[in-house]
């Protein structure tokens, strides 16, 4: 390693609230166990990239006893699907995941009621998984596709259901801010390892260790993807991204001027998921989208301090700022030695 390249480490912690802030939050969903033992799930949401459609397919499959690939998820449409409010605030898995779970339970109850009649057993002993339905402690068993057929053709019932999930939040007191802004909180922490070139001021982030409580992780790989993506957005915020205006005119109006992290800038991210399930909701899941990027920038600034003894308190830590801070540090220590 070159003499001018110095390494260091820093850490930071964080917390975050899940779903809409200091206001009631609600989401609705409809479900139908469909022909062929498949399912239709309608809810006012579509993918913004976080993997919500996959999470909802997993939830529906788990609740209904079919496979995720047998679930068709309706796209977000204010005239064709129930309201699920907005795609933000780290609320998708928590709010819509739980709404879908409840809609599926409702639809399944309808199906199970008819199949219990068919087999002349108690509804409570019925169970379904991976496309099969059976009655525990008996030899009754059949494919879901047959169960749907019987439910419709013999008993005249379409197994549909609806669900709603509410997260009870209150506004803040206008004087002291007291209130219950969320019912579920997540916590996280990250360690950053950096290499700073004292000759050029360039900072490279080599490693990030990220540990986040997400409640029950429905799709751990998806959670990891959110952590990695959040970390890299925060790397941009910490080191290079800087929207600039002069007298109101933007001077960084293209990706040539507005610098984003590329494949050469990103650290290796090692993630660890902590599961502290939410006791107030059916799934126990909480969220990860936004909290993933909160501790990264301070962990990086603390690591830069560890590496070269200068603290950047004004983001981003550009090479120019690092060099200026190093000059300042040198000037101060020279001053001291003269005194």
């Amino acid at each position: 390693m070159s003499l001018t390249k110095k390494r260091g480490r820093g850490m930071a912690a964080a917390w975050y609230g899940i779903a809409r802030t200091a206001a009631m939050d609600q989401a609705g969903a409809w479900a139908e166990i469909d022909d062929g033992g498949t399912a239709k799930v309608l809810t006012g949401v579509t993918e913004i990239g976080e993997g919500i459609l996959t999470v909802l397919a997993q939830v529906a499959a788990d609740e209904l006893g079919i496979k995720p690939e047998q679930v068709t998820i309706g796209d977000n449409d204010t005239s064709r699907s129930p309201e699920a409010a907005h795609a933000g605030a780290t609320r998708q898995t928590y709010m819509i995941g739980n709404a879908v779970a409840m809609a599926c339970r409702d639809a399944k109850d309808r199906l199970f009621s008819e199949i219990a009649k068919e087999w002349n057993v108690e509804k409570e002993i019925l169970q379904a998984h991976d496309g099969e339905i059976w009655a525990n402690g008996t030899n009754y068993k059949m494919p879901m596709s047959d169960a749907v057929k019987i439910c419709k053709k013999k008993y005249g019932v379409v197994p549909v259901g609806s669900g709603n999930y509410t997260s009870h939040h209150t506004g803040l007191d206008p004087v002291d801010g007291s209130g219950r802004p969320w019912q579920a909180y997540v916590f996280g922490g990250q360690v950053a390892e950096v290499e700073v070139d004292t000759a050029t001021g360039e900072v490279q982030i080599l490693g990030i260790w990220a540990c986040h409580d997400v409640g029950k992780a429905i799709n751990p790989k998806g959670v990891e993807g959110q952590i990695e993506g959040g970390v890299v957005q925060a790397v941009g915020q910490a080191l290079m991204e800087d929207y600039q205006q002069v007298e109101g005119h933007t001077t960084t109006g293209s990706f040539a001027k507005y610098i984003l992290p590329t494949s050469l800038d990103v650290p290796k991210v090692t993630s660890k998921i902590v599961e502290d399930p939410d006791p107030l909701s059916p799934l126990g899941a909480k969220g990860i989208g936004e909290p993933a990027m909160v501790p990264t920038a301070p962990a990086i600034m603390n690591a830069i301090y560890d590496a070269i003894g200068v603290r950047i308190q004004s983001l981003p830590a550009t090479p120019e700022k690092i060099l200026r801070a190093l000059d300042e540090k040198k000037r101060k220590s020279n001053g001291k030695s003269i005194n």
Partner: protein, 625 residues
């Protein structure tokens, strides 16, 4: 419009066609051939979403005039595989979860294909460098690298291709299982249609005339010459709004099109819908405007003095102040052995979702106004649109198209109102796609912030009092400023038990680009200050930073800063797990970087140096495999 004849081969098909001579290869592929898998993320060769092969070489098709493609063989993402017959690389992307929003992914697959074609043994450093021209805003690249390495090893025969089909079926439950993303096949093949990929019969194209002044009265707006441009169907201004003309996520203070004055550079003033994009652009260039400049505000603290008002009727530039009070800070500081006071600031940041804002508006057969756009909040948009268009709420229908990255940036209803006005006026479908530059200057950013911080601690490291004040620049319109201030205030002091707290966050209007919702919504700004100052305190107290946090962290039963009782608080577990995961060497943060023993583990990437590709001797000698 000038035309020229070209002969070329696209995805194995011979094509002999007359094309618009000003078209780039990307326009030709998307507009004339409907090959919409190649995306336009920036139009300037910076992002790589439009990557294709031209005679086998990776080219950014937004930089190539279509005339130059004549006589060449073009290969696009549509030629790489189909959802039921994926290429090896596409299967690897699917397996590793390398696609999130998916907008960069067709370009990424092309760049990865090129990487492995050029260098089948590419190591990770070579892969990173070869793919350095393709930006991804969602994934952090890690799962993309994983996919390319996996595909490399399968193609070279080191790994069994069956690995790509692997799927460990969970026994009892799909909850907690790594089910492969159900939307991935449509994304890795470029088949998924985003708003900009939509076409409808008789569709018009919309363009927007924008302010070049930060704060000015509109003295005169002359549309005469613009209306005469052949192909122009309508030009709308604020005078065309039939209902109550304002929108905003928290405060509805923004008109669909500037009314009487402009408050920032890039603000929409008029919108043209024409039968071609070219006609719409020409009409924009013929709109004449006279401004009377007003004194402008660019600094948030200056704005708080209210000497100049951005929104006169509010009588103040303060958008929102959120106070939080707990205990008594004077008493708390009196008990402290150590008091630290510092200042912190954060910059404005662009969302840089790879999919620029885009949408289509039309009026349905039953008179329902339909807006298809990558909106992150169709529920609220429908409410606001009904009011703006003076329609019953069920006569407004919002459809959320696949979002090519949002991060909060697509929560504002910044262009849908213009689409609605044009569609209602013409009764024809209208499409609008922003250029990257237009998107950057006109849409909301992350709030830049300045924070002053005072913290008191005992010599044992227990926090006795915290006083925080953050001022954030909200820009010209309210957008999500109120909510951002609220979250910054509630969470800002961190997951720590603080008996005496005084927290104030303030968002203000200026004549800068509006600030709005952005992933981590204010908490990023204030928690940055807290986690930085705690490091400073840990050094002064000669205490390990984990230890300092453990001394103060929330435990179940504690009251939060808003006096809410926590039923559980996993921060203790998180800190323990993190310390182990990172193999952290204990010690105070006293710049011991050069002597610490926990550096350089295998969990780091290599330090980056340019020229990794040049290590390949065959390439040095100019040989291409």
């Amino acid at each position: 419009m000038h035309k020229l004849k070209i002969n070329l081969e696209v995805n194995g098909r011979k094509i002999n066609k007359e094309v618009n001579s000003h078209y780039r290869l990307l326009d030709f592929l998307r507009e004339d051939l409907d090959l919409t898998g190649s995306k336009e993320g920036c139009g300037a060769g910076e992002c790589g979403t439009c990557s294709v092969f031209v005679d086998g070489k990776l080219v950014k098709s937004c930089l190539m005039p279509v005339a130059k493609a004549s006589g060449k063989k073009i290969e696009t993402i549509e030629h790489q595989g189909t959802p039921d017959n994926l290429s090896t690389l596409q299967k690897a992307f699917y397996l590793t979860g390398a696609s999130q929003c998916g907008f960069c992914i067709p370009g990424m697959v092309m760049a990865a294909t090129s990487t492995l074609r050029n260098n089948p043994d590419a190591n990770i450093e070579e892969i990173k460098e070869e793919m350095g021209g393709n930006i991804c805003r969602c994934t952090g690249y890690q799962k993309i690298f994983d996919a390319v390495e996996l595909a490399r090893d399968v193609i070279s025969g080191k790994l069994d291709p069956k690995l790509l089909e692997q799927y460990s079926k969970p026994k009892d439950s799909y909850l907690g299982a790594n089910v492969k993303r159900i939307d991935a096949p449509s994304k890795v093949t470029g088949r998924l249609k985003y708003a900009a990929d939509m076409k409808m019969p008789n569709m018009l194209h919309m363009q927007v005339f924008r302010s070049t002044r930060p704060h000015a009265k509109i003295k005169k707006l002359d549309l005469t010459k613009a209306k005469q441009v052949p192909g122009v169907e309508t030009i709308v201004t604020c005078d065309d709004v039939p209902g109550i003309d304002n929108f905003g996520v928290f405060i509805e203070d923004q008109p669909v099109l500037a009314r009487d004055k402009v408050r920032y550079v890039g603000e929409a003033i008029a919108a043209v819908a024409a039968d071609t994009l070219e006609a719409a652009k020409e009409a924009i260039s013929k709109i004449e405007i006279e401004y009377e400049d007003l004194p402008a505000l660019f600094d948030s603290e200056e704005a708080l003095k209210d000497k100049i008002l951005i929104h006169e009727h509010y009588k103040t530039n303060l958008v929102k102040h959120i106070p939080i009070r707990k205990g008594n800070v004077e008493e708390g500081f009196a008990k402290a052995d150590l008091i630290v006071e510092e200042k912190f600031s954060t910059q404005a940041v662009e969302h840089a979702y790879l999919e620029p804002m885009a949408g289509v508006g039309y009026v349905d057969s039953d008179g329902t106004l339909v807006i298809v756009s990558p909106s992150q909040n169709i529920t609220h948009h429908r409410h606001m649109m009904a009011k703006i268009m003076n329609l019953p709420i069920h006569k407004v229908r919002f459809i959320m198209s696949p979002v090519g990255g949002g991060f909060g940036g697509k929560e504002d209803m910044i262009y849908q109102g213009m689409l609605a006005l044009c569609a209602m006026k013409t009764r024809l479908p209208v499409k609008y796609v922003m250029t990257r530059e237009e998107d950057i200057i006109s849409t909301a950013k992350r709030h830049p912030s300045r924070t002053t911080y005072k913290i008191g601690l005992t010599k044992e490291g227990k926090i006795t009092a915290v006083q925080i004040k953050m001022i954030a620049d909200g820009g010209a319109y309210g957008c999500s400023t109120e909510g951002v201030m609220r979250k910054a205030a509630i969470l800002g002091a961190g997951p720590y038990r603080i008996d005496n707290l005084q927290m104030d966050t303030m968002g203000v209007y200026t004549n800068n680009t509006p600030s709005g919702a952005f992933r981590s919504f204010g908490a990023l700004q204030t928690e940055f200050a807290t986690e930085s100052i705690l490091d400073i305190c840990a050094e002064k107290l000669k205490m390990d930073p984990f230890e300092l946090r453990r001394k103060n962290m929330f435990v179940a039963g504690d009251l939060t800063h808003t006096k809410q009782k926590l039923n559980s608080a996993s921060i203790g577990t998180v800190l323990n797990e993190l310390e182990t995961l990172a193999n952290w060497e204990k010690g105070a943060p006293n710049s011991r970087g050069q002597i610490r023993k926990d550096l350089n583990s295998n969990d780091n990437r290599e330090s980056c140096f340019l020229g990794a590709r040049l290590n390949d001797k065959s390439r040095l000698s100019g040989g291409v495999k």
